[in-house]
Symmetry: C2
Subunit: 338 residues, 2 copies
């Protein structure tokens, strides 16, 4: 830890977050299960396996095009379970509410949570409510933790152990929509009216991928820190590298425009309905095809592959033929994105 | 809902909290598992059962005699699992941190969590960190969710289904310590220096109870709302009543004094290391004996019994021979007690 105080960047999902996790949480909470280092922990129960995950949601504003904090809180945890290979089943919901929050806002949020849980086929089975004095939190924060059943043959998906040279890298659609929606809303930019968050539960889409490919190597949802942060984590300290083709990565024109105007790189912007899938080359096209049959995957594409050049590093071949390196997000791009 | 806005009392654990849960959460999240209405939800996994629970901790101040928010966050969730009859195994930890929190404070909290997890024999297996701008939360809030394995024969303990006339009501020690510690610290009262929170993980003590009694009828930890709130919930809409003998209920002199001075009733003050146990009369003394062999139970006592007079109501026979009714906490006694 270089800083004596906690900085916004420690919650970015990028470099400072990793440092905090390594130097504090992993150090003191040290145990074999925590060290799995996926977004979910894989736990043995009565001969079977479950995935267990937690996420707190502090997004500002609470309501935005394409969703709200409630929908996000359900979809986010469902996705963390689903990308571990698990079938999400049960969620908890912990509310921290600021005194004076309009009851109607809370109701809208709760109704969204209920609807998203139904869409995803999960149940909210336990909860907790705390209220703090006015000025001591910002309207509402929601924690959801989740449990899913993990088929044994999928247990290594979140670890990335099975990734090999030649595997293809697939994404289920355009990048940066969630982050730029929040940015547009926060800054009250009129130009961004046709941008909408991609916030969605991906578990049903992901089950379809498992139906056409029984050898999925890795999956992770690309939230805080964007796809660059996920891709760098995959390749870190490994004996393989990653090649990404910028041209192949779907980015909506409106997102691209807003990113250019504000100086953001969409590769580092948060998504809330996008998953990076790594699979054997022979299955890549089948996966893209089945993704395209779903609403959440209709813009799916193969965006790159695992290579044996530049081990430990990810490279993007840019549209104009140049190359740039893939890194984890440093500092904080936009606080309270989720 | 009578109020258009959320009030502090909605987080008290008392009457307003119940109303909010009924009118909003149960209404929209409606499902059979949520309707179990214990602090934990009992879930079927691979032929076995697990308990699943969640709690957010917003206690102010962060550090107090007998504990801190970190110890509390671990012990609180361990206890919610243990009183359901489960063996607590795994916790998640979700941090919401205010920008500018001294790193040293966070480290102290994390070290306490690690130590308490070790004491309780549980592992922190997954986590999440969010940082919000200065002024948007109050230093740090922690959510812990937990999973425990529940032996099949204990599955009805949190429901209270098995309670019968003649059963004895037992507590593992003195009431009101946690709440009055926080109160003393908050108001900076010098008189309260010998009061200390009872914050502790009770799972190992509770396992000893199961060893001497294979027919425990009910257990619940008496946190927000105090033992009165728990006792009223037990008896609500039931065909039995509860008699409590004030004289038998352990209250430390210092807590009693501070309560009298500030106008609090210790029966409604929060505890963080006390469990109400209901068991057959024949086992009551054995349970008290085994509790007394533990540090958390050394002041254990039988404090009352289940009766068939005044069904649906709990009565306290006071020290001077009068009677008063047991109710749930109305409004908010002391915000951010846990």
């Amino acid at each position: 830890m270089k800083s004596k105080n906690i900085l916004l960047g420690h919650g970015s999902g990028g470099k400072l977050t990793s440092e905090l996790i390594e130097s504090l949480f992993f150090k003191h909470f040290d145990n074999d299960l925590l060290q799995q280092q996926g977004d979910s922990s894989v736990l043995p129960v009565d001969g079977g396996l479950i995935s267990f995950t937690t996420d707190s949601f502090v997004v500002d504003p609470l309501f935005f095009p394409g969703g709200n904090i409630g929908k996000l809180a359900v979809a986010g945890t469902v996705n963390d379970l689903a990308v571990s290979g698990a079938k999400p089943l049960w969620l908890s919901a912990g509310f921290i509410i600021e005194e004076g929050l309009p009851y109607s806002d809370l109701e809208k949020i709760v109704v969204s949570m209920a609807r998203e849980a139904e869409n995803a086929g999960v149940k909210i089975v336990t909860g907790d409510t705390k209220v703090v004095d006015k000025g001591k939190c910002d309207k509402i924060f929601i924690n959801t933790s989740g449990i899913g059943l993990l088929p044994g043959e999928r247990r290594d998906i979140s670890s990335g152990k099975k990734i090999k040279k030649g595997d293809k890298i697939i994404i289920n659609g355009s990048i940066g929509d969630h982050g730029m929606t929040i940015m547009g809303k926060r800054k009250d930019l009129n130009i961004s009216t046709d941008i909408s968050s991609d916030c969605a539960s991906l578990n049903k889409m992901i089950e379809k991928v498992f139906k056409v490919c029984n050898d999925v190597k890795f999956m992770r949802d690309a939230t805080r820190g964007g796809i660059s942060t996920v891709l760098s984590e995959i390749v870190k300290n490994k004996d393989f590298g990653i090649n990404i083709y910028e041209e192949a990565v779907p980015v909506h024109e409106s997102v691209k425009g807003l990113c250019e105007m504000l100086g953001f790189d969409p590769f580092y912007v948060a998504n809330e309905g996008k998953v990076i899938i790594i699979a054997p080359a022979r299955d890549a096209e089948k996966i893209v095809e089945v993704l395209k049959t779903t609403r959440e995957g209709k813009e799916a594409a193969v965006i790159g592959e695992i290579c044996d050049e530049h081990p430990g590093k990810g490279w993007i071949t840019t549209t104009i033929g140049g190359r740039r390196i893939i890194d984890v997000l440093a500092g904080e791009q936009l606080p309270r994105i989720c």
